[in-house]
Amino acid sequence: MDRIAGIINLDHEQDLLDELTYFRCGAAVPFGGRYRMIDFAISNMANSRIESVAVFARRKYRSLMDHLEQGKAWDLDRKRGGLFILPPDWNDPTDISRGDLQHFHNNIDFVNRALADYILVSGSQNICNIDFQEVLSEHKNSGADVSVIYTKVDELYPEFNLAHKLDVDGNGRVTSIHNDHNNKNVYMDMYLISKDLLSELIEQCIAHGGSHFFLDGIKSRLEDLHVHAYEYKGAHALINSVESYYRNSSKLLEADEHDSLFKEDAPIFTKVKNEAPAKYLPTSNVSNTLVANGCVIEGEVEDSILFRGVKVGEGAVIRNSIIMQRCEIEPNAVLENVILDKDCRISEGRTLIGAPEKPFVLPKRKSM
C-alpha cells in the first residue's frame, strides 16, 4: 500500500466570516452542531489511513490548537507520525521564501520525514466526505504528476466566486485553471502529489520568487506538468462567508445532505466534551432541528442548529438560527435568523431578528 501524508494548509485562507472569525481562524469556526470546520479535512485524512498530518497555521490559531490537542480525537496521537501543528516560526537566515512557500520551505522536514510516498494538501473551507485512497488510485492510473480535486456544482452561489475553476479535457486532464464565475467545475483546494515532486517544485517556486505554491507551482505550469482532475461527487459546501456558512448549515437539516456527509463507515470526528444526552422538558417543542448533547430545552426550536450545552428557557422561541456552545436563551426570548457565537446570553423576553438572507451575528460571550 502506498502511504499518504497530509498537509492542511491554512496559509491563504482569509478570515471572512465577520464576527465568527474575529478571534479565530476560519478552520476553527464551529460548524454542524458539534464540529469545527477543520474536522472535515482532518477526519477525511484519518479515514483515508493518513497517519501524519501537518497543519500550516498562520493567524489566530489559539482556539485551533486548543481544539486539535495532540490529535487524539482522530487517532493521530501516534509514536510515529501523528499530528503536527506548525505555526509561523522560522529562523533560517538564508530563507528567501514568501507566502505559503515559507511554510513549505521551513517545514520541509515534515515532508522529508513523513513515512509516505504521496502528500495530500488540503484547505479547511471545503466541507465534504472524501476517500483520499480513491484519489490516489485514480492518480496512479492516470499517470499524472499532480491530481487536483474538484466538484461539479449545481448552482453558482456567490461563495464560488472566490474559488478557482477547472477546464478538464475528455481524458480528465486539466487544461486551464481560472476564476470564470460561470464555470461549475469548482476546485476544492485539495491536491495530491508525490513527495519527491513536491520537494522539487517547492525549490523551483522559491528560486523564481513565487509566493503561492498552488498558483506558482501548479496553476502556471499546466503545460509541462500532467495535472489530472479528480471529480468528487458527494455532499459539498464551500464556506468562506457568513452567507455560505448560514445557508450550508441549514442544508444539514436535509436528510440526503446529512447522510452523505456523516457516513457510518467514514465518521467525522471531533474533540469530545463528555456532555450528558440532550434533555427535552415537557414544555419543549422542537422541530426540524439538529441538537447536540448537553442541551436543556424548555422552549420552542424550529429549523435550527443547537451546539453542545445550549439552554433554551421556557417560552423562548428560536427559528432559523444557529446557537453555538453553551449559549443561554432565557425564558420568552425570541430569536429568528440569528447566529450566536459561543457563550452568548439572551436575557428574558429579548427579541433578536435578522434577515433570512443576512442573519444577525452575535460575537462570542455577548449578553443582550
Binding site: F262, F269, V272, A276, P277, L281, V286, V291, G294, G309
Partner: protein
C-alpha cells in the same frame, strides 16, 4: 516510586441475574444507563473526580465487552504511568488457581497487585449502583476517626430497611452491629457496599479468611462480621444524595425515569462532577418536523421522526414516522420502524423493531417489558413481558 495513599478495587464480576437477558452476554457493570452511560461509568468517574487514580477492576462473568470498554481507562482519565486502571480477571498460578469464590476472595487473590502500590487504605466498590460520591471526603472521615474500616451508609425509608444490610451504630457513628436484611430493623442506615479499610488490617483479615474453610469469602458475610467480632473500630459514613441499586429490570427502568424530572436528584449536567463515558462520536441528533418530543433524554446520532414521551433514548436510535415511544428506555442503535407503539419497555441495543409492532403495556402498575435479543427483527407484534 512513592506509594499510593488509597487504591480502589471495583468488584465487577457479578452476573446480575435479576436483570434477566440484559446481562446474558455482558456483566452487570456494563449494562447501559441514562442515555449514554454504562453503570461502571459512575464508580470510575467518582474515582477520577475524587482524585483516586489507581483502580483495580475485578472481572469474572462475561468480561469481553467490559474489558474492551475499560481499555486503558482513557475515557475516565485513568490512563496513568503509575497506577491508572487495571483489569484483574481470575488467573492461574504455580500452586493452582480458579474462579473468584467470593468478593473477599477476589481481593485476596490480588494481594500482589495491591502490594505493588503499598497503599495505606483500600477502597472497595461495586459496579451495581448509580450515584455521585466524593470518596475523598469519605477517606478524610475514615482517617480522622482512625477507623480500621469505614462503611458508607445511606438512610433508607424504615419500611424498606429489611431489604438491605443494616448498620446499627452508637451515638458517635461507630458500628456496633451488622444486620443482613433484618426482619425487625433497629436502624435505617443501609450499607452502600462502599468500604474503606486500612490496608494492613484488611490484608490480615483476608489472609485469615482464606485459611478458614468454612468461610464463604464474602465481605458482607465474613470479613465485616469478623472485624466486628474482634471489636475493631468500624465507622459508618453517612452519604446524602441520590443512590440507586439498578439490580432489577424495574429498578433500572425507574432510575432512568428519575433522570427525566425537571430537577433530577442526579444531575448529569454538573460541570464540577462530570460522569465520563466512552463517547460514540456521532453527529448531533436530528428532530424532524413530524417529531413530537416531550420530556426526554436523547443522545447523539439519533433521528427522531415519531413521538417520544417520557423516555430515555441512547445514541444511534432511529424512530420513524407515526411511532410512539412512551415511558421507555431505548438502548443504542435500535431502529424503530413506522407506526410502532412502545410503552413501559426497555429495548436492548441493536434491536430492529418492524413497522406496526406493539410492545409493552401502558397501564401504570404493569411490569416493564424487556426486549432483549440483540439485533432481533421483531414480528409485527411482541408479547408483553419476558
Amino acid at each position: 516510586m512513592k506509594n499510593k495513599e488509597c487504591v480502589a478495587m471495583l468488584l465487577a464480576g457479578g452476573q446480575g441475574t435479576r436483570l434477566k437477558s440484559l446481562t446474558k452476554k455482558i456483566a452487570k457493570p456494563a449494562v447501559y444507563f441514562g442515555g449514554k452511560y454504562r453503570i461502571i461509568d459512575f464508580p470510575l468517574s467518582n474515582c477520577t473526580n475524587s482524585g483516586i487514580d489507581t483502580v483495580g477492576v475485578l472481572t469474572q462473568y462475561e468480561p469481553l465487552i467490559l474489558n474492551d470498554y475499560i481499555g486503558i481507562g482513557a475515557s475516565w482519565d485513568l490512563d496513568r504511568k503509575f497506577g491508572g486502571v487495571s483489569v484483574l480477571p481470575p488467573f492461574m498460578q504455580a500452586e493452582g488457581g480458579g474462579w473468584y469464590t467470593g468478593t473477599a476472595n477476589a481481593i485476596y487473590r490480588n494481594l500482589q497487585f495491591l502490594n505493588q502500590y503499598d497503599p495505606e487504605h483500600v477502597l472497595i466498590l461495586s459496579g451495581d449502583h448509580i450515584y455521585k460520591m466524593d470518596y475523598n471526603a469519605m477517606l478524610d472521615y475514615h482517617k480522622e476517626s482512625g477507623a480500621d474500616c469505614t462503611i458508607s451508609v445511606i438512610e433508607v425509608p424504615w419500611e424498606e430497611a429489611s431489604r438491605f444490610g443494616i448498620m446499627n451504630t452508637d451515638d458517635n457513628g461507630r458500628i456496633t452491629e451488622f444486620d443482613e436484611k433484618p426482619k425487625e430493623p433497629k436502624s435505617n442506615l443501609a450499607s452502600m457496599g462502599v468500604y474503606i479499610f486500612r490496608w494492613d488490617v484488611l490484608k490480615q483479615y483476608l489472609i485469615d479468611d482464606a485459611e478458614n474453610e468454612n468461610s464463604s469469602n464474602d465481605f458482607g458475610k465474613d470479613i465485616i462480621p469478623s472485624l466486628l467480632g474482634d471489636y475493631r473500630k468500624l465507622m459508618a459514613y453517612t452519604f446524602e444524595g441520590y443512590w440507586k441499586d439498578v439490580g432489577t429490570v424495574n429498578s433500572l427502568w425507574e432510575a432512568n425515569m428519575d433522570l427525566l424530572k425537571k430537577e433530577p436528584e442526579l444531575n448529569l449536567n454538573d460541570q464540577s462532577w462530570r460522569i465520563y463515558s466512552k463517547n460514540p462520536n456521532q453527529p448531533p441528533q436530528y428532530i424532524a418536523p413530524s417529531a413530537k418530543v416531550k420530556n426526554a433524554l436523547i443522545n447523539e446520532g439519533c433521528r427522531i421522526k415519531g413521538e417520544i414521551d417520557n423516555s430515555v433514548i441512547f445514541y444511534g436510535v432511529h424512530v420513524d414516522e407515526n411511532s410512539v415511544v412512551k415511558d421507555s428506555v431505548i438502548m443504542p442503535d435500535v431502529k424503530i420502524g413506522k407506526n410502532v407503539t412502545i410503552n413501559r419497555a426497555i429495548i436492548s441495543k441493536g434491536s430492529v423493531i418492524e413497522d406496526g409492532a406493539v410492545i409493552g403495556d401502558a397501564s401504570p402498575e404493569s411490569e416493564i417489558t424487556l426486549v432483549a435479543e440483540e439485533g432481533s427483527v421483531l414480528a409485527s407484534s411482541y408479547a408483553t413481558n419476558s
